[in-house]
Amino acid sequence: MSDDRTERLRVLKTYKLFVGGKFPRSESGRVYEVTTATSAAGAAGKDRWLANAPLSSRKDARDAVVAARKAFGGWSGATAYNRGQILYRVAEMLEGRRGQFAREVGDAEGLGKSKAAAVVDAAIDRWVWYAGWSDKVAQIAGAANPVAGPYFNLSTPEPTGVVAVLAPQESSFLGLVSVIAPAIVTGNTTVVVASERTPLPALSLGEVLATSDLPGGVVNILSGRTAEIATPLAAHQDVNAIDLAGADAELARSLEEAAADNLKRVLRPQPVDWSADPGTARLLAFLETKTVWHPMGV
């Protein structure tokens, strides 16, 4: 009786943005088609349709900045220990969704199953590694400075503020995690522009963050044309820093010019091997040093 068995209709997922802890569609109502990488196993040189991702507009970027600014006070004011706990919780949630992410990364980057799984594992490990830095970064970025006077002189690192992050274009998940985690672990809040061609792992990361006690607005994820979203972000007066990891040389140049207007901190794009030991450079890139003079013996 196999012929009267009806085939089950798949429930397709509507990928949405992640802004302020919610999942809105683009304000513009636009979407664009996301396809597999051309070299994907089984695709045989043809792009296979995966999903329609939201095509964000500059107004989505503006709303995301408002959400990030609103979240900054609470997130930067949380204890480092608490931030570390929450980030570790994110890793726990990621671990539970390994299969989903391995499939999405495999489709996005054209990797086989085992390679994709290895990339996801590396990303989760990367996240845990950065989570551990939350209460340790002050030890390497801060100091008790020797001064010629009867003062304690202490320098402590503080978060820069709202950071616009252009996620790397090629590494859709490991690269993404490697740019988000170091920015937020120190207390910054972020507006992330996902990889233009492979935004699905990033949009799914939003679902993980929403269920991990991370306050809404700390990470906001937008998908769409990188240049279209990044331009208003770079010029935005309420964005304190911008990470240009996902911008090509030409775009990076124009974004740097726009960012100069309100003296944004800019992290220039550089060739990175995302699987290598990341070091602390990205962690220290979005910190400001506060130095306090305190009279001794009072």
Binding site: R62, R69, P232, A235, H236, Q237, D238, D261, N262
Partner: protein, 362 residues
């Protein structure tokens, strides 16, 4: 028992509450509510306010509000897209209509002075920004505000003072009148009074009416100039329960001589909403059609963004037209709205989104 109360039975009186929207006489012009002529026009309505019973019959004879239709109309008017030059015009208009408000227990003379400086020169980096309409403070801060405005070169910015046991309105009438006289004597240009919601909700309309009339009387300046501070009457619509009550309160206040009707104190959970404001705008329109007296409207509380403000301006334009699109006839009671308007203004002039770092913290 003969039916005595119908004014139509009396010779020489052509107005009856049963024909409430019929024009009284041919009215050639509209007169402002604060002018001397307005009192005569209102006197012609004296029959509906003669007794508690007549006033109740009049107010309860007003047509019921279609709540669904009202909300739908307010929502529909909120979808207008106002862009580019129209937006720039609307933003400047909204700034010029703001009653910049600080009504905190923690108000200090320093804070009031800072607010006055901001009202005179909202964006110090851009002198083309218009001044706000008024500074709204508690009555003990009126003198401070008046002086600060004069020093900042903004004497044309009015000082509005809340009075009559703001925000609850729970005090003896003598106290409320004294409160008002003090504020007027200190130099207030406008008085924002609250109605006695307890009396209104328990149906003692004439008491509310008399109170407003007496406060209006107390708004007269004692300097012999014959002028008076303009009276805004706050309904606290969030406490009036129904749209019907808002309509009744609007007519009641306008009949009693209010120069402005105002939605809220900003001190309760529900403040100005577009439907309530639309309802009050319609009441003002009908009141002018009936009596020829022009009354202003002031939504207050909860209006924080430029988008909201522009929606209200659309409501005004669509309901009352250009006659009301000035600071003389429409105001926003707001404090944080100004910063958002300034940020939007900066965005329009520079093309870059602005941020709270570029406006004052207050």
């Amino acid at each position: 028992m003969p039916h005595k109360s119908f004014p139509a039975e009396r010779p020489g009186v052509t107005f009856g509450y049963a024909r409430r929207y019929a024009p009284l006489v041919t009215m050639p012009t509209t007169v402002p509510a604060y002018g001397a002529e307005a009192a005569e026009r209102l006197a012609s309505m004296a029959d509906v306010t003669a007794t508690d019973g007549a006033l109740r019959r009049f107010l309860h004879g007003l047509p019921g509000v279609d709540a669904v239709g009202l909300q739908a109309r307010a929502a529909a008017l909120g979808t207008r897209s106002i862009k580019t030059t129209a937006k720039a015009y609307a933003i400047d208009l909204a700034i010029s209509m703001i009653d910049l408000t600080t009504l905190e227990g923690a108000d200090t003379p320093g804070k009031v002075r800072a607010l006055c400086a901001k009202g005179v020169s909202p964006d110090p980096t851009d002198r083309s920004v218009p001044k706000v309409a008024a500074i709204c403070v508690y009555s003990d801060m009126v003198a401070t505000a008046k002086q600060a405005l004069a020093e900042a070169g903004g004497s044309e910015v009015h000082v509005a003072s809340v009075a009559t046991a703001f925000p609850s309105g729970r005090a003896a009438l003598a106290v409320k009148l004294a409160d008002t006289r003090e504020a007027v004597a200190a130099g207030a240009d406008e008085i924002d009074m609250v109605i006695d919601r307890g009396a209104f909700l328990s149906g003692r309309y004439l008491q509310v009416f008399e109170e407003i009339r007496q406060v209006k009387e107390a708004c007269r300046r004692a300097d012999g100039s014959g002028t008076a501070a303009h009276l805004k009457v706050i309904f606290e619509t969030g406490e009036l329960q129904t749209y019907d009550n808002v309509r009744r309160a609007s007519w009641l206040a306008m009949l009693a001589g209010a120069d402005f009707i105002k939605t809220s104190t900003g001190k309760v959970a529900v403040n100005a909403t577009p439907p309530v404001t639309l309802l009050m705008l319609e009441a003002v329109r009908d009141f002018r059609d009936t009596t020829g007296v022009q009354v202003g409207v002031k939504p207050a509380g909860g209006i924080r963004t430029s988008k909201d403000a522009i929606k209200y301006l659309v409501l005004v334009n669509e309901t009352l037209g250009a006659d009301w699109l000035t600071a003389d006839w429409f105001r926003f009671g707001a404090s944080s709205l100004l910063n958002d308007l300034l940020m939007q203004r900066q965005k329009l002039s520079t093309g870059r989104y602005s941020g709270p770092d570029y406006v004052t913290v207050d």
